[in-house]
């Protein structure tokens, strides 16, 4: 039985406890989280420059038809080390609209722009990680939130700004 309140707490608090970090080796492999099987793919080797756009694909499969309660991909940073943990979202992509009926497999792309700062950092008291978190919850199918670390955000790209239409 999934706990809706717990899920809301996790998403509203911005990636709370309970996230599981998947090692780089397992990224392109499927993993089973609750009643949903996940598969995640990233463009490139998950080492991106600041300002670079990167894409990925999430596949969530259940054994039977299910309805999306929410499905999001989140780019966020997380600190690690001696200090209390800080986390902050840098972007959120809705993978599927709530209420959408899925026969068995949800196949959704996501796209993020790597923020201009800070770079991935391993210091004395502080470590900074950039992560992509996947949150999928379906009626009739349950899952645990999952997050994958981007090995590095690398300095050296000034970013590409395109303004389509001012207002």
């Amino acid at each position: 039985m999934f706990n809706m309140q717990r899920w809301r707490q996790i998403t509203q608090a911005g990636m709370g406890a309970g996230l599981e970090t998947v090692t780089p080796e397992s990224v392109t492999e499927s993993s089973r989280m609750g009643n949903l099987d996940f598969s995640l793919r990233f463009s490139g080797d998950r080492r991106y420059r600041h300002g670079e756009r990167f894409t990925g694909q999430v596949t969530a499969t259940a054994r039977e038809p299910w309805t999306v309660v929410f499905a999001e991909a989140i780019l966020f940073l997380r600190t690690e080390g001696m200090g209390n943990r800080n986390e902050a979202r840098a972007g959120t992509i809705e993978l599927a609209r709530p209420g959408r009926d899925i026969m068995r497999t949800l196949d959704a792309p996501f796209e993020f722009t790597a923020p201009l700062a800070p770079s991935t950092y391993y210091g004395t008291l502080i470590k900074l990680h950039w992560m992509v978190g996947i949150y999928v919850l379906g009626k009739g199918s349950n899952s645990q939130p999952e997050s994958i670390e981007l090995p590095e955000l690398i300095p050296g790209n000034e970013g590409k700004l395109v303004r389509v239409s001012p207002f």
Partner: protein, 345 residues
Amino acid sequence: LDYGPDDRNILLDIRSGVNHAQFMIRRPGEPQLSKNAACCLVPISLPFILMPLGVLYMIFVRGGKVEGDMGPIGLAILMGLFLMVGLGIFYAGVKLGLRARGYGAKALSASSAVTLGTVPLDALEWFPKPTKKSGPSLGGGIRINAEATATSTAIGLSVFALLWNGFVGTIFYFMITEEKDSTPIFAKAIFGVMLLAGLSILYAAIHAVARVFLTGETYLDVSKELLSPGETLTWAVIQRGNYPIEAASANLVCRETVRYTVGTDTVTKQEPVRTIELSPPRPSRADPVRPVIEGQIVIPEDAPSSFVMSHNRVEWGIEVELVIPGRPDVKSFFPIRIAPVSRGY
């Protein structure tokens, strides 16, 4: 939600099916507010406001008598202090509460915005806000203040010393002068220790005030305060006044600061993780129009970017130390910002 290349444009990526968007403009570095935390301040302020108002009403409107040595004026001053604290907390609660509830949010029609882009550095909540400028520099760059200026330190310590010693001193005075002498000895001992702490705060306040009047404010002139690795920073230390300085030195410092919880306490730990000597200690002279020391430094290619969050910080700055005979010495940290990418902003 993305931002345009300048702070006048906010660009929204509107997908199909969205009729309107609601957003709130938040200044860079402004903390995200918890509605509950903001609203707690208002009820907390009420006793501080109502109690002194009640006492003042009883004294000056109803003509109540004040017993003891304090007298109506002394009591009115004490109640006035309570009232000021209460009003300050109330104001902060209302202001933060309104912001946390989206006061100032604007509505946009979907057709008014479109976009692609990258959030500018200054709009990232975890990137330090621009260093406060204090005026034009000697060399055409900008003049920045120390992290804690001499004036702000003096004002802060003086107010704190006044409040601390006012409360503790008043209570301690009544304890030792009461006729019945009913105060337990351990209570007197505790307040005695608090009074000693108050005296040390008073000493620090006097020292800080002396630094303002005898030493004067210290500034740092820099070519720019937002740099990226590989860029050259030109800097100069300016000291107000006109007197000899025994030793003036400066270092470029990267420091990490963390806050962590131990039981019910919050502990802060700060550690310099990189120190680059800019100028070794040497004699100089304070002069408002000539630098005490100056130089140039190329920001290291592997410099980590500045980063500020509630419990974790990576900060860059120039640490200046001035040893001055017969006047309070100076040890100040002038923050600058290092970004992995700064071109175009």
